[in-house]
Amino acid sequence: MNDNFAKWYRQANIPITDEIMTLRQEVLDEIIDIKKMNQKTILEILNIFYDLDDTEESISVIVEEFQKNDSTFAEDKIQEIRILAGLMLIRFIEERNDILSLSTFNQCYLFLGISPAIPEIAMYVKEQFEQSKLFLRENIVSETKKNLTPLKQDLFNITEDSEIVYNEDTVMKLTEVLKKINEICKNIKLFQTETFERELILQEDSQILWWMITEYSEAAQKKYCDLNQFEAPFFAGRDLADKVKVAPGPYSYTGVLSKLLSGFEDKTYVLEEYVDNCTDEFIEQLMSFECDTPLIFALKQKKLCGEKNWYKIFDDKFKGREKKLYNSIDIAVEMYVEYVLAKNEE
């Protein structure tokens, strides 16, 4: 972490002395407990990293921690706080397994073109996410190597008619057996879970492949080629997400969606145009989701406030976004990613 620590500060062009670096690293290593951090907190840290609004409270908490060994650390050191937030994100990715929420929101902010404090960290989070998707399937194909050490052959040598004396020695042997049974049960449970997960993934694969052949949207009850430029990406993204049984889903989701929407011209439009043209029937099914990822948030606001009236609320929430142009695949990918998270959190 030491070399990387200096490296990220360098990327952010903050000239830091060794002394200050040591102070910061001490807090990150010893005071901030990544293992116990909840999802809400890590998302707030992500928001700080992306310099979004409504982060004052979280910033105060972070400042308090760093003030424990450096009383000069203050809330106005916002650039440095964003870097430290980024370092916490890296630690989270390295030490935790439950990275779906963090990774999805990171991808959403990149989709909107919001500038992270250090783009390389944002890319690192994205890469780790892609890797986790890739390894879901890659690990199925490999053989499971579970090492169950066998019981010692001569632990018990009992025949049916023989008498057993329950002395200390016997009790110890019984304990051994119990431990082994426990180990076997755990492995069976793990094996069951893994097998179940594999089956789900294999089922997912076959469902996706067949779906790709039919090119038909269950939700819209139409072929994708019969939908318009604006509807198709929403339905495609959502349909793929519906087929995902094990989050975060397949690594090749971009390729799948690209194939399904290949019939559409590569025209680009602003986000507002896609959202304004999305039907209320489609949005209705999203209203129950609590998560406020950008596209779902925009769609819900469009239903609540009407066409065009949602722009300001959206811009206030996702401050600093670029007014980018998107093609159908960009929208479909974003819809898919957000829908997978929303389903997972339900």
């Binding site: 062009n13 000239p15 200050i20 073109g113 944002a122 890319m123 892609e130 399937r137 996706i208 690594y251």
Partner: protein
Amino acid sequence: MPEEVAENSIFEDDDKGITVTPDIKVENLGHQMPLGMELNDEELYELASREKTYIVYVMGPIHSGKSTFEAMMYEQFLHSSVGEIMFSGSDTLLSFERLLNSLRANNGKSSVDMPRTNEKKEQAYLHLKLYDKKLNRKINVIMADKSGETFERCKSNVEVLQNEYHFLNVAERVLIFVDGEKLCDFSERIKATQNVFMVLNTIKSSNQYHSKFKVDIVISKNDYLCKNIDKGNTIEFLEDFKRRIDLQNDFFTINLVKVESLSRLNLKDPDNSISLSEYLKSWVKEHKSPNDYKCLPFDVESFRSEFDKYISRWNI
């Protein structure tokens, strides 16, 4: 006097009974404002930890045009904004004014005579806060200004370089100045160019070096150089210099830039010189948007899952 104090007292017995009435009266101290002079390391850290900064190290021998360059970078804003880039403040305004004073007609001098940068000073950073109207963002450009004497001491000594230019690895850009006038002088030009390769090697050998190092070799006084370029084999010499610089591209992202700091927009050699305004714009525009960053692609051939292989072969 309490006993314990008396035991360790620094006062002699003869001092007892002496009273001191200070003559100095301090009144109406007023409120101290920031000094407006160059920032030191701590002030630089304070600024960079609060706001986005773009650090440029300006290196080169004495009289190679570093201070004039820095002064004129600021001076252009006294006339107008630089395209979409506007002046938004400076914590070192007095420093810029002091540098510019040596160039002004009302300083009483008939020729330009820039003061030598103080070798011993700890404060070395000039600050310009700029606003990019197109991108709607502010950036703090910091020019790290070290004396020519410091450069001479550092150019061939890794330890001295690491001590004197200790934030070199944080810099977005390093400018190594070459005096354009010296390139026209047969007896001086070898040393002038040799300095560049010497310091590049030293940087490469130091802990400041990293693979994304950006270096601009800045030939100053290009108006003078352009006027005297036909003397002898100067053109060939410069071509050879450029060729040798290009060889350094394996280690640095390196550019050769020619400036005429005092010409402002009326460049004497517009085909080869870059105006300070264009040069500044190139610095400010450098920041990449997140779209420019791509995920590392995975090697499809190494996949075991046929599903991933099949789909990944689609051109995304």
